[in-house]
Subunit: 267 residues, 2 copies
DNA sequence: ACGGAAACGATCAGATCCGATCAGAAACGG
DNA sequence: CCGTTTCTGATCGGATCTGATCGTTTCCGT
């Protein structure tokens, strides 16, 4: 039995059973405990499992990190952050702003926490959590005072948006200074789109409730057309994107949206 | 059984049930109480749960667990579970039920997951999470099919209820077969009460939306009067409490509520 | 408010586990 | 065929875990 085979077996055992004891492996592999320990050292160094007293356990990467455990799977991360930093400069204390569901808007939400006296209306539970959920380390101080968070109701889509008649109805009675809209695609012909029909309807209600529409979308969204159009390009008073946007897109967008802001990726 | 496995099990138990007693863990894990205490110390130091007298409770500040959802005492824990088990028998597949915010209703929500084709309306993000959030350990399977969860909107109170005009408005357009109401106090004169004015108003809207009002309240709630009355005792078609309720209370309640159900604490 | 019962934490002893070290065996290359 | 490298097993002092004991604290019903 080669060392490699042993280690593969150990890994399989750990992954199927969650954890194994050294003594069990000694019996299973018919080697000394020291050899087992050394194998565990190797696998642990590679980050394939966690050594614990008495044996080994499946790695738990779900550490005490930020709630954004999906952040790692997020694409165009640095672009999103640059865009969010640019977008937040459009917000002033005391405003009432809407924030749609989405990863870019979620990033933006973290920055909005520092703006005093805001009223935030959102249809995303994740975004509401940013303001209220208060997670790790009790660093609650330093939060800007006087903020109010209003959550629209509705049923929840897989992408964490609250949608449907309840959401639309709630939005009809609200009036906002500005709304930040995250989209799945933007296209010359298709306008701003999302793959979810219900979400599209709700976002339209969100847009209708605001005097000013600010779309946040990184350059990877250009040319993408989702199932349903939320609004046409002309509806956006402001579009915040990043410098990765091709020249052709810039030309089209400049003439169609009210104002085009390109955030520098540098940051 | 590895120490790590024990601790994982404890965490899972705490997160699904809200809290757990040392004595229960001793039996479940088949180790001494000292070992359980030491495990709780470790998990508590890591900030993964809160130690309380008699056991441990879920921490409020992780993303799944909302603020103000404190379990300070193990006391009425088993009562809450018994009550929830009794209450869930009143629900049949295909019904539309409302669920107010609260710890007892939260426990009930876990059981409601197993009832097929339910429509659940709630103003608690935490309860909505029970049905949809499920992020830990990916053990989603086993959920009953065909469920729809509707969240009312509103602003969030410290105790995790969504309240205010948005919530009330959303509820006015909905009609439910039954609503499960968790309360802070019940009293002969005061009726069913809560300390939060806004929450009281929202709960009243929830009650008005339903044909049948089912109040869930353990015996420690008897004689407690909060700031604001939600409804009088007569409004409850059903009250589910536990056998710890004193005789005097039973007499009063029997004559005032439609039907009094006392769950056995035995469990 | 009081008293009994349960829960708690400090401490100790026994068992187990861990890792540094050394020696022997197998594999490898010239 | 021999020296070197790598892997494995054995030993042993130290670290860690667990259960039991016991005095103290906290809780809860009366």
């Amino acid at each position: 039995m080669l060392a490699r085979q042993r280690q593969d077996l150990i890994l399989e055992e750990v992954r199927t059973r969650g954890a194994v004891k050294v003594s069990e492996l000694v019996e299973l592999l018919d080697v000394s405990d020291m050899t087992v320990r050394r194998d565990l050292d190797v696998l642990s160094d590679k980050g394939l499992l966690d050594k614990v007293h008495g044996g080994a356990a499946a790695r738990q990467d779900r550490s005490v990190d930020e709630p954004g455990f999906e952040v790692k799977s997020m694409r165009a991360l640095s672009e999103k952050e640059s865009i969010a930093r640019s977008a937040v400069t459009l917000v002033h204390p005391g405003m009432a702003v809407g924030v749609s569901a989405g990863t870019t808007t979620w990033t933006l939400a973290h920055l909005l926490r520092d703006v005093p006296a805001l009223t935030i209306v959102t249809n995303s539970m994740r975004i509401a959590d940013v303001f209220l959920g208060w997670q790790s380390q009790g660093q609650a101080p330093g939060r800007a005072p006087g903020q109010t968070v209003v959550l629209t109701g509705g049923i929840r889509t897989p992408s964490d948006a609250l949608v449907g008649p309840v959401a639309v109805h709630a939005l009809r009675s609200l009036h906002l200074d500005a709304v930040f809209l995250g989209v799945h695609g933007m296209d010359e012909a298709g306008g701003f789109t999302t793959p979810n029909l219900m979400e599209s309807e709700t976002n339209r209600a969100l847009v209708d409730a605001a005097r000013q529409l600010i779309v946040v979308a990184d350059h990877t969204k250009w040319g993408v057309v989702g199932l349903s159009t939320i609004v046409g390009l002309e509806a956006a008073q402001v579009l915040v994107s990043d410098s990765g946007l091709p020249q052709a897109a810039r030309d089209v967008l400049s003439s169609r949206v009210g104002r085009l802001i390109l955030a520098e990726n540098a940051a």
